[in-house]
Symmetry: C2
Subunit: 342 residues, 2 copies
């Protein structure tokens, strides 16, 4: 049933080695006649070399594994696209799985990738398996983390500069004359992008000699109703709040809904900036100012890095942390009426 290299060799009247050589482009020493003959037979028989056998022998599978923690967030779709494109253009296949933020699941997936002999792994870590990451790095196994930093561990990674991202958002508010700026953020829990966004928020205020008011820092979960309640409480309190910096794309939708339900207008009553540019940002009412993160680029660079590591396994390449700069996409949600009319 399945055609092997031996079948081709027999039919072409040559040895398996010759077929193998030609298959792999080691033409140098072959007669053009032989090459043509073998190629013709391969074509005729529609021969498909078995990558398993090849991989077993050569220790190269041309497979990269990626572990994501959340497929639903469009941010990750872009990252995945970047990784996929890069893999494709470099001739690698991509194995994907979803840890769903569960370290146990992540661990299983990594093990499974190893059994399958993937040549490298890209991961958005759940921060529960540092021992594995450390082990990989020590063993020189091609491994790249994305998005989340791993504390106290020198591994290859591609990250966003989240401090900067928060700073440009808050600075933009300040530049527009807003001073009472609240931040909505998920519990940081050691997740570096969250910690950094909060840190960036603080820094931006301090850089402008403004005091950081703890009551304007709203740490919220993913429950929509609770988020909305927090927004309403904040805006109804005697706290003066002029602007909200919402640090997650879905969270921002909840915030807007709450504001709308209060009968308040963005940006006239309250200015708003969201984190992560999405397809819908510009279509919200009003169009939303967002911190754009180069997600596709992050995926692409991560893939490039693993591939570089794979192609240079002999050399011990020093670990590298790449940091990508976000930028602000200014729309109406963040600009007060006075500016709007200029």
């Amino acid at each position: 049933m399945k055609i092997t290299i031996a079948d081709v060799a027999r039919k072409a009247g040559v040895s398996k080695s010759t077929v193998s050589r030609i298959l792999n482009g080691n033409y140098e020493q072959n007669t053009q006649r032989t090459i043509d003959k073998v190629l013709k037979v391969i074509e005729e028989m529609d021969f498909q070399p078995n990558a398993l056998a090849k991989g077993l022998k050569s220790n190269k599978t041309n497979i990269i594994g990626i572990v994501l923690s959340n497929l639903k967030n469009p941010f990750w779709a872009s990252v995945l696209e970047g990784v996929e494109d890069e893999c494709r253009s470099s001739g690698f296949n991509l194995m994907i799985c979803n840890s769903n933020e569960n370290p146990r699941v992540e661990r299983d997936h990594i093990k499974s990738f190893q059994l399958k002999q993937v040549e490298g792994i890209i991961i958005n870590t759940t921060l529960g398996n540092e021992d594995i990451y450390k082990d990989f790095t020590e063993k020189n196994f091609p491994f790249v983390t994305i998005n989340r930093k791993i504390p106290n561990t020198e591994v290859n990674g591609v990250f966003m500069d989240n401090i900067e991202g928060a700073k440009i958002a808050v600075q933009h508010f300040i530049d527009n004359g807003l001073r009472e700026i609240a931040i909505f953020i998920y519990p940081t829990e050691g997740v570096s992008p969250r910690e950094e966004r909060l840190e960036g928020y603080r820094q931006a205020l301090q850089d402008n000699s403004l005091v950081v008011k703890e009551e304007l820092i709203k740490i919220v979960g993913e429950n929509k109703e609770i988020v909305k309640k927090e927004v309403k409480n904040l805006l109804n309190s005697h706290q003066k709040v002029e602007a909200i910096f919402s640090t997650n794309n879905i969270l921002t939708l909840y915030v807007m809904e709450a504001i709308r339900e209060l009968g308040l207008k963005v940006p006239q009553d309250i200015a708003l900036i969201g984190y992560d540019e999405t397809v819908w940002s510009m279509h919200l009412n009003p169009p939303l100012t967002t911190v754009y993160q180069p997600a596709y680029k992050m995926g692409e660079l991560a893939a490039k890095k693993v591939i570089e590591l794979i192609n240079n396994k002999e050399q011990k390449i020093p670990t590298e942390q790449i940091s990508l700069l976000p930028n602000l996409i200014v729309r109406q949600s963040s600009i007060q009426r006075s500016q709007l009319n200029e």
Copy 2:
């Protein structure tokens, strides 16, 4: 460096066969002592069986491949999640790639999957490689299409009932007293979901004895500005239009933007229904009525189907087409003021 079954055998003082048996749960005829001993050594050495060798020998890789055509659309993220979950719980790994709607790329990916000996393939076809699909089906190779139907070809597939989806949307308009209903749709180009949505639109009108007005059928490309121009032309013409059925989630955002720019209100001036429920639908202003499609379910069922085919390769299972029903999520965008005040 790498530990093999031979190393384990040596250390445990047994043969490779014994280790292999125990590894694969063929305990029946082994002494408990041997089992324990071998298991202990496996544990101690942290032995990881090489799936390549296993696959080469056993002709089973436990890998499924999926070819998607568009990673960015959140609809596909849900599908992917369904596929991934099902694969995981059934012990399969998932290889993913993106055809980007390009049949040539799709073809390359499929070839590549075959070389890697994937045991089954799930695909959202670009409709350019029917020969391959037919071939797979004839050869009894586990193969399932999703979302798009392949004309004149009996292959396994999981689809949405797009005729029904369009009908419930249009019927909802009609039930609310709206008669002049326009549809915005991408060029059908043989893509079954588009054809069916258009068909469903026509049927719904006819079922209610309304005439289908060709000038209310707007076939548009993906260019935002052109879409907006079309919307404006339509609403500014002396055509009476009471409602718009927008058949794609991104398209709907463009439509809304154009309406807003015209100074018209949804739903008072023009009612609107979009296709595909998304995270942002409920947060638009006004909240958008959408046709919800069970995307996760589609992914899950497709994966279940390939796995079923994989596990029963001997039997020729007749091809099956599964159709999933969408349903309408009613929000304010589709309900005219009169209803709103009830």
